[in-house]
């Protein structure tokens, strides 16, 4: 077994022992969909305002974007900056294993949790509301992958440029909430005002959300949204590698 798989196993155990990360990554998307769908009866009834669609169906891809944003901006970001601040990375640097291996292990654990949380949410939506699920699976996977890569890049970048865990958490939430707005968490589907949408197209989570929604409803994401998410992933990823301090 390689050091990466051993570290990933160890990090996965720690992840499951942390109630907050466990809840936000694995349960939050499902809880949100089930609670919203039950609390607001109109949410699961076909509505002429949404072209005969059920609002919950419009909301599910947005919840996927929300899940991506939550895992990267809270769980991943805080763990990375804490590991640096507390000297976990530095201690690893004294062993034959490189500290970057631990970051790789953290990425693997967070991506696995994200995928599990998303799958759980879609399964719950199918069972509770009879949701048909995404109509274009390959497109959805592409959108999910690129959106996650973009937000992981942003998380790594914030961890790289902030001096300590407190600052990382602060910047993280400063980015997180506007990002949710642009992802359409409060204005799913066509409800987002045109001006906001034009900005959203160029934010990582906004573009990811648009791409996820297009794929969910059977289409293919617009090239713009794929390009924007890919660009965020590459640029923030490279900057993070250049700027990251290990101690």
């Amino acid at each position: 077994m390689s050091a990466l798989t051993r570290l990933a196993g160890s990090e996965a155990r720690l992840f499951l022992r942390e109630p907050m990360s466990f809840f936000f990554a694995l349960a939050f998307p499902t809880v949100l969909v089930v609670v919203l769908g039950n609390a607001i009866p109109a949410f699961s009834e076909p509505s002429p305002d949404f072209g005969g669609e059920r609002p919950i169906n419009l909301y599910l891809p947005v919840v996927l974007a929300l899940a991506v944003g939550t895992v990267t901006m809270t769980s991943l970001l805080s763990v990375l900056s804490q590991y640096r601040e507390r000297g976990v990375l530095k201690r690893l640097a004294t062993t034959p294993v490189k500290p970057s291996t631990l970051i790789g292990a953290q990425l693997a654990v967070n991506i696995a949790a994200l995928v599990a949380g998303a799958a759980l949410m879609m399964a719950a939506a199918a069972v509770v509301f009879g949701s048909r699920g995404p109509e274009n699976w390959p497109a959805l996977l592409v959108a999910f992958l690129l959106g996650s890569a973009a937000m992981i890049g942003v998380a790594l970048f914030i961890a790289a440029v902030t001096p300590n865990a407190r600052a990382s958490a602060g910047v993280g939430s400063l980015v997180y909430f506007p990002m949710l707005f642009f992802a359409g968490v409060w204005t799913p589907g066509d409800m987002m005002p045109e001006g906001a949408r034009r900005v959203a197209d160029f934010t990582p989570l906004g573009a990811a959300s648009q791409a996820l929604q297009d794929a969910w409803h059977g289409g293919w994401p617009q090239p713009l949204h794929l390009a924007v998410t890919a660009a965020y992933a590459v640029v923030t990823g490279i900057l993070a590698i250049r700027l990251f301090r290990w101690q």
Partner: protein, 244 residues
């Protein structure tokens, strides 16, 4: 046999020179102490030897290997206990030992090592629940888990109570008796005097004296009619080139 050879080591942070042309050698099986006040350049020196920092000038070799050379080979030979380096809160003692032992080709028996540092009962305890002294002892155990031939220990008894300090000293002597060379950073005079075969006294990034504790003390003679101790020797050697 020379294990560590430091030659003209210089390290700057910005325009501040924290280590300024330091040279010394450490022989196999020695407990070599680096003694100095905070900011004297002790930690930076051992971080350069550990390969965690790159010197601005000078060379360091450990068992003939340049510290800028083969990263992995070097880290198999050197075990490092760092100041203020923590573990994940929810990682259990036994899990940490098992995980870190898996990083080395020929690790020590981690259960034996835990027993040696007196943490057998804490094997299932998460890191966050350990006391300061227990964390310190776990840190020493992790530094020794790879069966290193050199152990670098930075401020290892800071925060320990007197009994735990003496237990730790005993452990360090046991490690040396197993043939491990020990490089010890400290600012405690009693620790330096009791434990170290030789001492390098650091002041302002330079070595101002290097000798056995007894010789350092003998050089001072009497102070105010009393026989000098290591602290007297230290005070006589350091602080002269300071601004204030």
């Amino acid at each position: 046999m020379t294990v560590i050879e430091v030659n003209g080591l210089t390290k700057r942070y910005g325009d501040r020179t924290v280590v300024d042309g330091v040279s010394f050698t450490v022989a196999e099986g020695e407990i070599f102490g680096i003694l100095g006040e905070n900011g004297a350049g002790k930690t930076t020196t051992v971080e350069c030897i550990s390969g965690l920092r790159t010197p601005d000038a000078g060379t360091i070799s450990v068992f003939g290997l340049d510290t800028r050379g083969d990263r992995e080979q070097l880290r198999r030979l050197i075990g490092v206990q760092l100041q203020e380096s923590q573990l994940q809160d929810r990682l259990r003692v036994g899990e940490a030992m098992q995980l870190y032992s898996s990083f080395y080709p020929d690790p020590a028996d981690w259960r034996e090592l835990l027993a040696a540092v007196g943490l057998t009962e804490q094997v299932r305890m998460p890191y966050a629940k350990l006391s300061g002294g227990q964390k310190q002892r776990l840190s020493i155990a992790l530094a020794l888990i790879g069966n290193p031939r050199v152990a670098i220990l930075d401020e290892l008894t800071t925060g320990l109570d007197p009994r735990a300090r003496r237990e730790t000293w005993k452990l360090i002597r046991q490690i040396r008796d197993r043939g491990v060379t020990v490089l010890l950073v400290t600012h405690f005079m009693d620790e330096a005097e009791r434990l170290c075969d030789r001492l390098a006294v650091f002041d302002g990034g330079r070595i101002v004296a290097l000798d056995t504790p007894a010789a350092l003390i003998a050089n001072v003679g009497d102070v105010d009619g009393y026989r000098a101790n290591l602290e007297d020797a230290f005070l006589a050697l350091t602080g002269t080139g300071r601004d204030n």
